[in-house]
């Protein structure tokens, strides 16, 4: 663990945000298993410290682009449960009026430019957002989230080259969870991932993605420097997804062992680790933490109940929003 900060409020918020993500995902998984959610979804559970550590270093005017595994980024960037669950169920009050669903939630009010169902599909968008900041003299930073699998997309190398040439305020955040669908990362990624960024002269860091303080501390520094025109930067966050690639990926022992999953859950869980740290530092008592958890669970349950009852969009909305006014 990184060394303690004095601001206990920040710590407690980071803890709460991680628990909110985990709780959101548990409920989403339940909705899928009980056949209440249309389609399928990709769970972020296990990777909470990445999204929270990074987004806690950003303001609402900083932008992010997200991925198919995007609920965590969305919550961490400030989204609320009700509109998220409504979107997951295709309801009119969802963030995208039900048009996007799990893989396309965008939350403009908090600078979330959207999840993306095309692997690597947001790399151009994130870099373009940073180009706009530079051109218009705005001081916001854009963080581009993507997985280890996405490093195989050629687009990444095209935009990193331009970002480096033009010193753009973008941070590439590679969430290396060890797998790209049903394949281990080492089978699809040659050489070193951070060395690829370094080849463009981009400063790159590898960080323990299960340690929210380490992630946050590094991101704060990089964001501050990016605002001053010292970007771009690259982070490789070593993390792990607890569920299958998607919620339907249940029998997965052919590509990933149960003991490996157990080891990550038991020994490296970002929430358990941070909780122990908070108690040990005297920042919160066990009882206070339990109360926080219970509050979040209650929020989620209410939001789910609300979303289940909420109406679907009316039929006439089907051809709305194809073109902007």
């Amino acid at each position: 663990m990184a060394k303690p900060k004095t601001n206990t409020e920040d710590y407690l918020r980071m803890y709460a945000q991680m628990v909110r993500i985990r709780t959101f995902e548990d409920n989403a998984n339940q909705l899928y298993l009980s056949a209440k959610m249309p389609g399928l979804t990709h769970m972020y559970s296990g990777e909470e410290a990445v999204a929270v550590g990074i987004c806690e270093a950003l303001t609402d005017s900083d932008r992010i682009t997200s991925t198919h595994r995007g609920h965590g980024h969305c919550v961490a960037k400030g989204a609320e449960f009700k509109a998220m669950f409504c979107e997951l169920l295709g309801k009119a009050e969802g963030y995208c009026r039900g048009k996007g669903g799990s893989m396309h939630i965008a939350d403009q009010s908090h600078g979330n430019l959207g999840a993306n169902a095309i692997v690597g599909g947001s790399m151009g968008i994130a870099t373009g957002s940073a180009l706009r900041a530079k051109l218009l003299g705005q001081d916001d930073v854009t963080v581009c989230f993507f997985g280890d699998g996405a490093t195989a997309q050629g687009l990444m190398y095209e935009v990193m080259n331009m970002a480096a040439l033009w010193k753009l305020p973008v941070i590439y955040a590679c969430e290396n969870n060890g797998y790209s669908e049903y394949t281990k990362t080492e089978e699809i990624a040659a050489g070193s991932i951070i060395a690829r960024a370094e080849a463009f002269g981009i400063e790159a860091h590898q960080v323990d993605g299960q340690d929210v303080l380490a992630v946050n501390e590094l991101t704060q520094k990089l964001v501050a420097r990016a605002r001053k025109g010292e970007g771009p930067f690259f982070m490789e966050l070593m993390t792990y997804r607890y569920h299958g690639h998607h919620v339907g990926d249940i029998n997965r022992e052919y590509y990933r062992s149960k003991s490996e999953e157990k080891d990550w859950k038991d020994n490296r869980d970002p929430i358990i680790r941070f909780r122990a740290f908070l108690v040990e530092q005297g920042i919160a008592t066990e009882a206070e933490i339990e109360a926080m958890n219970a509050e979040i669970e209650k929020d989620a349950a209410e939001a789910v109940a609300y979303a289940e009852k909420a109406p679907y969009p009316p039929a006439h909305e089907v051809d709305m929003h194809v073109y902007a006014e």
């Binding site: 799990s102 095309i118 049903y182 679907y312 089907v318 194809v322």
Partner: protein, 331 residues
Amino acid sequence: MREITLSQAVNEALAEEMRRDPTVFILGEDVAEAGTPFKVLSGLVEEFGTSRVIDTPISEPGFVGMAVGAAMTGARPVVDLMFGDFIYLVMDQLCNQAAKQHYMSGGKLTVPMVLRTNLGATRRSAAQHSQSLQALVAHIPGLKVALPSSAYEAKGLMKTAIRDNNPVVIFEDKLMYQDKAPVPEEEYLIPFGVANVKREGRDITLIATSSMVQVAEKAAALLAQEGIEAEVIDPRTIVPLDEKTLLDSVKKTSRAIVIDEGHQSYGVTAEIASRLNEKAFYHLDAPVVRMGAMDVPVPFSPALEDLTVPTPEAVAAKARSLCAGEMTDAA
């Protein structure tokens, strides 16, 4: 006859061709041990090994380009593109490279490769995993395009595709992978450019592709209850297109609806309808009508998504009004 799923049919076609021809190999994401997310290729890596069933990184333009190169130099690659929507990523390799080599080289180079992918909405997969993009590739000279409508077609067309000396794109309907159909045990191929008359009728011709063949057949069953006899034709390949069978039918029935799951505007339905208008105009009693998916990105919400694709009821209603001689707003 035994019945197998569309998924098993594709699997069998690939296995048979790989046994027959050692230059056939498969390239794509999670095709080996995982057998693709739809499990269509399960078991192939066990028989043919990882040198012929090759897992790639998520580098679509890269591995499609490599398939073009391998095909130009003596192999017969079958590329697995996990979702039809990813075709946008590989357009340059497919349309500028694969499609044109034979022509640009004055017939010296050939690109005998297959790109198998899928189409189809209503799976609640939202706008980037639900598209039916056959029109995009059918537009490009040099590419052949097959649209199997059942397990039987999926097997026969795949085998023909692998033996064809041109780049062939095959779109499977992802909602049909578990649908069973009678498929002979003995070997057969389905030639390209030969339409299949699924049902005979004298009043109206329903020309339908892929996922829409079932829709047309259901519409025909509805219409039959009212005494309207619809002929249902599945072109099976849209490039090459069996114009003769379509024209013969329309000359007999004098009315036609063309149904395809791609967006209606500038699509497959428009092309076929316009050929019928050009070549059977004086036999027609009604305008040829197109029915495609609504011109909107596919929405996620079930309440909206189901509105975007042609249904048997909508096809039957349109057929009814054409047969009644009502003026129709063809758009």
